[in-house]
Structures are given as structure tokens and as C-alpha cells.
């Protein structure tokens, strides 16, 4: 192929990519840039030049710090538990002989169900007059709804975390199953032949194999559990509330002066997520290198 043909190919490549890149770039890039500009007081309804007033307000507001803390706590706990339980579920499912395919399909059933439905369902299950509370009353353990532990709208956001687990354990589990199906058996078999115990195989073969892929999936789960709005709105505590709900509250405040603050909160949410994504990407790269070392040592 001639150089001219190559140049032509290059142009065609970018022409083909441009509609998608333009759509995502203009809409998404526009959203981020607008939030950033308005958070520093530009393009807003108020007058005046750029200012960091909104950020100063956030830093001095103890309510914001508590919200940030709650949001980080919910995201870290949900992500960690999803990873542990998801890997556990995957290891369990692949030990299934007959019916594994059916069980795996059922395991994924929650994945396409919208989050609002999940939140409504969790409320009906663990709310104070929910199904579990009713079962408690029927068996004589409780005598009234108030006796059921308050895990909805509670300061520890337990129902919110339960809703995330309900959705994200299958997600991590399916990712782990996919990785294991792609090559876990041969390595484990080799380790077994070399005399590795079940624990050694898990610790030195299976988990290192899972690490890069599961880490990427965990980043997605973190981004999601850090940024979701409707689940904590329906199930979570109201003061302090999580950052997405706080941002929306400020945005819809009758006092228009609160809008730059809403934008600033949304910038903070974006920055935290981007930082975690970068950390996760770096971690996944290191894990892949470590994994390659394991594979080399094993093979």
C-alpha cells in the first residue's frame, strides 16, 4: 500500500469516528465545562467576575464535610463488600455442575433492572413495615413496626448499601466469572499438579488472575455508588445526605445564589470520581504486570 493510501485511510478513520466523538465531546464536555465555569461564578445569572466564593462556602460548611464523608463511606463500603461477595459468588457458581448455566442467568437477573425499582423493592423488603419486619412480627419477635431496626433513612445508610450490593454483587460476580472462564482452569490445574493446596491456589493463582479485571469493575462500582442520586434520595438519610442529592437540592433551591454551590459540588463529585478512576487504572496496570510475573513463574 502506498503512503498516499495510508493518509487516505487515516482521514477516513477520523471521519468515521467524528460523529460519535462530537456527540460525546460536545454534550459531555459541554456539561463539565459549564459546571466548572458556573461554579466559579461565570456565565451565571449573578453579576461579577470569576470568584471562588462557592468553593469557600463549601469548605467552611460543616454540612458539606459531613456529606462528603457520608458519600465516601457509602461508596467505599459498597464497593469493598461488592468485590468480596461478588468474587465469592463467582467462585461458588463455577463449582456448580448441573444447572450452572441456569443459575448464572438467574444471577444476572438484577443487572438490567433500573435502580429506582431496586430502591422501591429494597424499601418494601427492609423498611420498618416491610416484609422482613412483618415476618418478625408473625414469628413473635417484634410487636410493632418501630421495633424493627431502622435501616432505612438511617445515618449509616444501610438500606442504600444493601440496594447497591443487590445490584453490584452480580456485576462483579459476572466479571469474575468471565475472567475465570477465559483461563482460570488451566492455571489452577497446573498449580494443583504442582502440589498447591486449595488456599495456595486461591491466594497465588486465582486472586492475582482476577485482580486487574475486578479492579476495573470495582472502579465502575465506586464511580456509580459515589454518584447515584435516586437510591439515596429514596432510601438514605436526609441530614447529612450524599453529595449528589445535596447538589440537586442546592440546584433547585429557590435562592438562585445557591446555584454556583450546586455546580461546585458537582465539580467535586467529578474530581473525586476521576481521581479514583486514575488510581484504579494505575492499579490495574500494576496488577497486570504482577499477573504476568505470576503466569511466567507458573508456566
Amino acid at each position: 500500500m502506498s503512503a498516499r493510501w495510508h493518509a487516505h485511510e487515516g482521514v477516513r478513520t477520523w471521519v468515521a469516528l467524528s460523529p460519535a466523538l462530537l456527540l460525546v465531546g460536545v454534550l459531555f464536555g459541554g456539561a463539565v465545562v459549564m459546571a466548572l465555569l458556573r461554579s466559579i461564578g461565570l456565565l451565571g445569572i449573578g453579576e461579577g467576575g470569576p470568584s471562588l466564593a462557592a468553593y469557600r462556602q463549601l469548605v467552611t460548611d460543616p454540612g458539606f464535610a459531613r456529606s462528603l464523608g457520608l458519600t465516601l463511606y457509602v461508596a467505599v463500603v459498597s464497593t469493598s463488600l461488592s468485590v468480596v461477595l461478588g468474587i465469592g459468588a463467582a467462585l461458588l457458581l463455577r463449582r456448580l455442575g448441573a444447572g450452572r448455566r441456569f443459575a448464572t442467568t438467574m444471577f444476572q437477573l438484577n443487572l438490567p433492572v433500573p435502580h429506582v425499582i431496586g430502591a422501591v423493592a429494597i424499601l418494601a423488603l427492609v423498611g420498618q413495615s416491610g416484609l422482613l419486619s412483618r415476618l418478625g412480627a408473625q414469628t413473635g419477635l417484634l410487636d410493632e413496626p418501630a421495633a424493627f431496626p431502622a435501616i432505612t433513612f438511617d445515618p449509616w445508610a444501610i438500606a442504600v448499601i444493601l440496594q447497591y450490593l443487590w445490584k453490584e454483587v452480580p456485576f462483579i460476580g459476572i466479571v469474575a466469572l468471565a475472567i475465570l472462564a477465559a483461563g482460570g482452569d488451566d492455571l489452577e490445574e497446573a498449580a494443583r499438579t504442582l502440589g498447591a493446596s486449595a488456599w495456595q491456589r486461591l491466594r497465588h493463582v486465582t486472586l492475582p488472575l482476577l485482580l486487574p479485571g475486578v479492579l476495573s469493575a470495582a472502579v465502575i462500582v465506586f464511580a456509580f455508588t459515589f454518584g447515584t442520586f435516586e437510591v439515596p434520595l429514596l432510601l438514605g438519610p436526609s441530614a447529612p445526605t450524599v453529595l449528589p442529592v445535596l447538589a440537586h437540592r442546592r440546584y433547585t433551591d429557590v435562592d438562585l445564589a445557591a446555584r454556583p454551590e450546586a455546580m461546585a459540588i458537582s465539580v467535586v463529585i467529578t474530581v473525586v470520581v476521576v481521581l479514583v478512576v486514575l488510581l484504579g487504572a494505575a492499579g490495574a496496570r500494576r496488577a497486570i504486570r504482577g499477573d504476568a510475573a505470576v503466569t511466567e513463574a507458573g508456566g
Partner: protein, 290 residues
């Protein structure tokens, strides 16, 4: 950074291999643990089903003392809010699926079949919107859409739904083209088919099922959106998630439960259809599809 890519999806296809610990053999504790796991995951649907068929579902009834179809009659009433919400939800979701496919097919073909400089940067740009929370996108774009006169209507909602949907559809489309045996297109050309004939009779047949699934993902991403619709629709665009949330805040548990199940059903039906087309493991991407 890798979101669950089509490659991972492929890996999820069930490989013919014996189960660890002997072919077909499952120990009783493992089977019990799996049953318990699945029961826990499905448990939240139980109170919804019970409540939706109950009449006066008072505490501490577990099974309703009186069964009733009242909630379903209200929810499914021909002139009720559900059908109007369904119409708007479907209009928006179909538009999102079609528009995202239109931009995804050329991009996905390039990403799936060619190596070029800047490829990783393109993937990164396309993936970021998946990770940045919808609330940030919603309040950032709302201002722009207000000025363009697009806030508070279906076109504006379609535009913002494209932000989370397009990346998934592009990535899935790239996977479809990467896995298609496009050499057949060259063979058809060398056997004398015109470019158009080769596209229509060969390439299209190879990629159509995969593209249908990619479009389905776009549809589902839009189908479940809440906060983007809430902010940009400004209360004037009432999709099923918006209606469900309003109903849930309203207090009639039976109607809330029936609305929730009505909203969940199409997603589950589409899930089954998809697994028929692509095989059991191909659903991984749903986990990312928010």
C-alpha cells in the same frame, strides 16, 4: 481503564469444560449456597409481588388477607398515567437507541477493525461519560439546554440520555465488528459483488444481530434513567422512572408495587431475548449500563 469490554463479554461465553471437582458433580453445600445466593438476590421482588395483589395490606400481614387486582387495574387503566409514561419512555428510549447506533456504526467499525494512532485516547474520551455521575451531567447541561429552548421537552431528554448511552453502544458495536468475519466481504467483492451488494448481503447479515443487541443496550440505558430526565425534563417529561418515584413518594404501596413491576418487566423480557441472541454470558455489560 477498561469498562467491561466486548472482549470480556466474549470470554463470558460458556466454555465447554468439566466443573471443578468432577464433571456434573455438585456437592450439597455448594448447591445450597447457590440457592441461598439466588434467593437473596430475588427476595426484594417478593414484597412487590405480594403488595401489588393485596387489598389493604396492613401490618403485620405477610400474605395479604384479601387479594385484589385493584392496583393492576389502576396501573393498566387505558387512560391512566402509566400508558402515557410508557409512551414517553419508549419514544425517548427508541430515539436514543437509533441515534446512538447511527453514530456508533461508523465509529464501531473503525474501532473494531483498525489499528491507528490515538486509538486509546478515543476509547478514553468515549468511556469517561460512563464514569462521571449523571447528576453532574444533568445540572451542567441543563443551563445550556434551557438557553437553547430544549429543556422541559422530549428532544432535550433524548440529547442528555445520549451521553451515557452512546459510549456503551459504540463499544458494543466495536465488539460486533471485531468478531464479524469481515473477510467474507472481501471475498464477495472478489467474486464480483458491488460494494453495495457486499454491504447489503454479506456485512449487514454478519453484524445485524449484534447491532440489534447494541441498540437494545442503548434502549435500556435510557429506559432506566432518572436524574437526567428529572433535571432536564423539569417535571414536564414524565417517564416510567419519574412516575414510579412520584408514586413511591405518594404512599399507595399496592400501586407503587404494580408500577415498579410494570417498569421492570420489559427489561427482563429484553434480557431473556438478548441472552437468546448472544448466549448466556453476553449480558455482562448490563452491569455497566446505567
Amino acid at each position: 481503564m477498561t469498562v467491561v469490554t466486548p472482549a470480556a463479554t466474549d470470554a463470558a461465553r460458556p466454555a465447554p469444560r468439566p466443573a471443578t471437582g468432577g464433571p456434573g458433580a455438585t456437592s450439597r453445600p455448594v448447591a445450597l449456597a447457590v440457592v441461598l445466593l439466588l434467593a437473596l438476590l430475588l427476595l426484594p421482588f417478593v414484597p412487590l409481588v405480594l403488595a401489588s395483589f393485596a387489598q389493604g395490606y396492613f401490618y403485620p400481614q405477610v400474605l395479604p388477607e384479601r387479594w385484589s387486582l385493584r392496583a393492576w387495574q389502576v396501573v393498566l387503566a387505558p387512560d391512566g398515567a402509566t400508558w402515557a409514561a410508557l409512551r414517553d419512555t419508549v419514544t425517548i428510549a427508541v430515539s436514543v437507541a437509533v441515534l446512538s447506533l447511527v453514530v456508533a456504526v461508523p465509529a464501531g467499525r473503525v474501532l473494531g477493525t483498525r489499528r491507528f494512532r490515538g486509538r486509546r485516547a478515543v476509547e478514553l474520551v468515549l468511556l469517561t461519560p460512563v464514569l462521571v455521575p449523571a447528576i453532574a451531567v444533568a445540572i451542567g447541561l441543563h443551563v445550556v439546554l434551557l438557553r437553547l429552548g430544549l429543556a422541559g421537552g422530549i428532544p432535550g431528554v433524548v440529547l442528555v440520555h445520549l451521553v451515557p448511552a452512546t459510549p456503551y453502544v459504540v463499544l458494543l458495536t466495536a465488539g460486533v465488528f471485531a468478531n464479524a468475519e469481515l473477510e467474507l466481504e472481501q471475498q464477495a467483492r472478489s467474486l464480483g459483488a458491488s460494494w453495495w451488494q457486499a454491504q447489503r448481503h454479506v456485512t449487514w447479515r454478519l453484524v445485524a444481530p449484534g447491532l440489534a443487541v447494541a441498540g437494545l443496550f442503548g434502549f435500556l440505558v435510557s429506559w432506566g434513567q432518572y436524574v437526567l430526565t428529572l433535571v432536564v425534563g423539569g417535571g414536564r417529561v414524565v417517564t416510567l422512572p419519574i412516575l414510579l418515584f412520584a408514586t413511591a413518594s405518594g404512599g399507595d404501596t399496592a400501586i407503587t408495587a404494580a408500577t415498579a413491576l410494570f417498569h421492570a418487566l420489559p427489561a427482563l423480557v429484553l434480557l431473556v431475548l438478548t441472552s437468546r441472541i448472544l448466549g448466556g454470558g453476553a449480558l455482562t455489560t448490563f452491569g455497566g449500563a446505567r
